[in-house]
Symmetry: C2
Subunit: 389 residues, 2 copies
C-alpha cells in the first residue's frame, strides 16, 4: 500500500425530493446570487429546473442563468460564464445537469478568480489557483462523478484538445443527487453513463497496484452492480432502486476513494484514447470507452495478466485456465457485456474510417507518454487504435 492523502469535502444530499435543499445549502453560506448553469431542455421537461428555482426564489436568492452547455463541453462556454461572473456579483455557481454541466460550472468557478484565459488552467496552470467560487450542484444524470470530485474535463476544439483540470478548489461544496429525476433519461445515456462508471472503476483495477484489496473489492462490487443495473434500466428505466444504486456507484467509482494506496492512482489510458475520439468525431464519452478499454486491455494484458485475471474471477467468476487465459476470458466477457447492452466495441461500428486512425493516434500522442500499467508512446497508441478498428 502506497502513501496517500485522502480528502473529499463534498456534502452529498442523496434521495427523493431533495432538490429544494439546494436553496437551504446556499442560504447557509448567505448567498444572495448564484449563476445557474445548465445544458438543454431536459431540466425544464423533468421538473428539475422548477424545483430548484422555486426554492431559490423562496429563499430570495437571485439566479442569473447560463444555458446551452453541450456534451463534451467546450472552453468557449466556460469563457462566457467567466465573463458573466466577473461582470456581476455572484456568490456561487449552481450546475443543474449531468457531468458536462458540472464540469463547465467547475471551470467557471475556477476561472472566476483567475486573471488570464481559463484555458490556461487546463494547460498546467491549475497550481496557480488560490480560490474558486463555491459550487452547489443539482445532478440530473450520474456517470462522470463530477459531482463528487475535483476534476473538470473540457475541450478546446481550436487546439484539438480535450483535457482536465484537477484542483481541490473545485470540489463541489454540495451536490444534490435525486435519483428519481434520472428515470426519464434516454436509454443511450444510461448505457453510455454506465460504461463510463465501469471505466473509472476498471482504470483503477487494471493499474497493477498491490496491497489494495480493500479498494479492489469496492471496485469489483461497482462493476458487478453495473452489470446488473444497466440491463435492468434498459428494460425498466423508471426503477428507482436501480437508478439509486447506479447513481451511488457512479459517485463511488470516481470520488477518489478507489485510488487510496495505489500510488499512481489508476491508469486512465482508455479515457485519454477515448477523448480523441470524442474530440475529432463527436462520439459520446461512454461510447468511446466501450471500444478503447477492451482494445487497450488486449494490447497489453500479456505483459501483466494479474489484474485482468483477478478481475475476470471477481466479476465474471472465471476460474478455469492459467492466468493469461483467465485474463483474456475476462476481457472477452467485458466486450460481450458491452455488446449485450447495445454498445459498439469497434471503431468501425462507430463509423470511424480506417483512414482516420493515424489522425486519431497523432491527436492522442500529443499527451504521450501516458499510462501506468504500461507507459504508452506514439507507436503503442497507433497499435491500440488499429486493434480497436
Amino acid at each position: 500500500m502506497k502513501d496517500f492523502t485522502w480528502w473529499n469535502p463534498t456534502i452529498v444530499v442523496f434521495g427523493k425530493n431533495t432538490i429544494p435543499q439546494i436553496a437551504d445549502q446556499l442560504s447557509a453560506i448567505k448567498a444572495k446570487s448564484a449563476l445557474v448553469v445548465y445544458g438543454g431542455k431536459a431540466i425544464f421537461k423533468n421538473g428539475v429546473y422548477l424545483q430548484a428555482t422555486e426554492a431559490l426564489t423562496k429563499k430570495g436568492i437571485a439566479f442569473p442563468e447560463l444555458g446551452g452547455v453541450r456534451p463534451n463541453p467546450t472552453i468557449d462556454k466556460v469563457r462566457e460564464g467567466v465573463a458573466r461572473v466577473k461582470a456581476s456579483a455572484v456568490d456561487a455557481i449552481v450546475p443543474i445537469g449531468g457531468g458536462s454541466v458540472f464540469d463547465t460550472a467547475k471551470a467557471i468557478a475556477a476561472g472566476a478568480f483567475y486573471d488570464g484565459d481559463p484555458w490556461d488552467l487546463f494547460e498546467g496552470k491549475a497550481s496557480e489557483m488560490r480560490r474558486a467560487l463555491p459550487i452547489f450542484g443539482v445532478l440530473t444524470a450520474s456517470a462522470t462523478a463530477s459531482e463528487v470530485n475535483s476534476i473538470a474535463v473540457v475541450s478546446n476544439p481550436e487546439r484539438e484538445a480535450k483535457t482536465s483540470l484537477n484542483s481541490p478548489f473545485i470540489f463541489p461544496r454540495v451536490s444534490i443527487v435525486d435519483p428519481s429525476v434520472q428515470t426519464s433519461l434516454p436509454e443511450e445515456q444510461t448505457v453510455n453513463g454506465g460504461i463510463d462508471i465501469m471505466a473509472h472503476t476498471m482504470e483503477r483495477l487494471f493499474d497493477g497496484a498491490e496491497g489494495v484489496e480493500l479498494m479492489d473489492a469496492q471496485g469489483y462490487a461497482i462493476v458487478r452492480s453495473m452489470i446488473k443495473l444497466i440491463p435492468e434500466l434498459r428494460v425498466n428505466p423508471e426503477n428507482y432502486e436501480a437508478r439509486a444504486q447506479y447513481a451511488w456507484a457512479a459517485s463511488l467509482g470516481h470520488n477518489g476513494s478507489l485510488s487510496c494506496g495505489r500510488g499512481d492512482k489508476g491508469d486512465f489510458s482508455s479515457h485519454k484514447l477515448g477523448h480523441s475520439l470524442s474530440l475529432l468525431f463527436g462520439i459520446p464519452h461512454g461510447a468511446t470507452l466501450a471500444v478503447m478499454m477492451p482494445a487497450w486491455a488486449r494490447y497489453l494484458y500479456k505483459e501483466n495478466p494479474t489484474p485482468f485475471a483477478r478481475f475476470a474471477e471477481a466479476v465474471f467468476g472465471v476460474e478455469a485456465g492459467d492466468e493469461e487465459e483467465r485474463a483474456l476470458e475476462g476481457i472477452e466477457r467485458l466486450e460481450s457485456f458491452y455488446r449485450s447492452i447495445g454498445a459498439s466495441t469497434t471503431l468501425r461500428e462507430l463509423k470511424v474510417g480506417e483512414a482516420d486512425i493515424e489522425r486519431l493516434a497523432r491527436n492522442a500522442a500529443a499527451f504521450a507518454p501516458f499510462g501506468v500499467l504500461k507507459s504508452l508512446v506514439a507507436d503503442d497508441i497507433l497499435e491500440i487504435y488499429k486493434l480497436a478498428y
Copy 2:
C-alpha cells in the same frame, strides 16, 4: 437504498514519515498554540512525541500538554482539558495517540465553546453545539476510526454511563496516520483493535438493510482483510504492509461510508452491550465485542437469517445448508476465528461472574430500547448476557 447525506471532511495523510506534517497543517490555519493530548508513555518510547513536537517547535507553535488519558477515557479528563483551553488561548487540539486520546481530544474541542459541563453534550445536548476547536491528530493505534469520524465515546463512572457524542463539529480537520509507528503495539491491542474494526463493519452488515450491495461488498472486504491481517500481525507485528492495510481498514470501517443508504445506519447493539462490560469491569473495548457480537447474533439470527447467511458466504465461503444453517455456521466460524486469535468469547472467560449478569443487564437496559435488526428491551438484554456467559 434509503435517502442519506454523506459528508466527511477529514483530511487523512497516510503513510511513512508523515508525522511532521502535523505542524504544516497547523501552520496552514495560522495556529500559534495547540493543546497536545496523549495517554501514557508509548509515544515517548516509539518516537512519535518527538517527531510531532520537534515539528511544532520548528514552526513556532506552542504546545501545552495534557497527558494521562486512559483506555475507556473518562469525562474527568475531558473536564480537565476543557478547563485548560478555556483558561488559555489555544487554536487547536492535537491528540497524539489512539482512539481514547482522539475521543478525549474531540470532547475537549467540543467543550471549549460550551458553557455548561461537557458531560451535558453526551446526554443529548450535542445539538446545541455551534462550534468546536479544530482537531489535528496523530494516530498511533488504529481501531476505533475516531480519526475519521464525528464520534467521541467517553465514560462517566459516577453515572455508570459510557456513551457517545456525535457532532459534525468534531470531525478531525486533519488526521496523520503513519502505520509504521503501530509496529510496536502490543499483541493484545492489535487483537482487540482488530475485533473492534470487524465489529464496526459487521454492525452495518447485520442491520438487515437491502439495496446496499456496494456498501456490503466493502464491508465483507474489510472483514476478510482483518481475518488475514490479525493472525499475520500476531506473528509479524513489524509487517508494515499488514499494518497499513489494517489501519486503512479501520478508517473505512467506521468513517460512515458503510452506512450510506442503510437508513438506520447500522445496528450497534453489540457495542452498547459491550460498553457496560467496559464500564463495570474495565474490560478492553475490543474484548467485549468478541463476546457480545456472537451472543447478540445467536440470540436473534433466526428472526432474520438473511444478513448472517450472506455474511457467512461472502466472508467464510459457506454455501451448504439452508439460510438459517448458513447463518449459524457463519456465527460459529466468527467465534472460532476470535478464539484462534486468542480472544475470549464468553463472559466466564472474562471473569465476569454469573451473579454480575443482572447488574450488567440493568446497566445496558438504561439505554433500551435499542437495536435495528431487532429492537432490544430489558428482557432481551438479560437473555443475551446469559447466552454470552
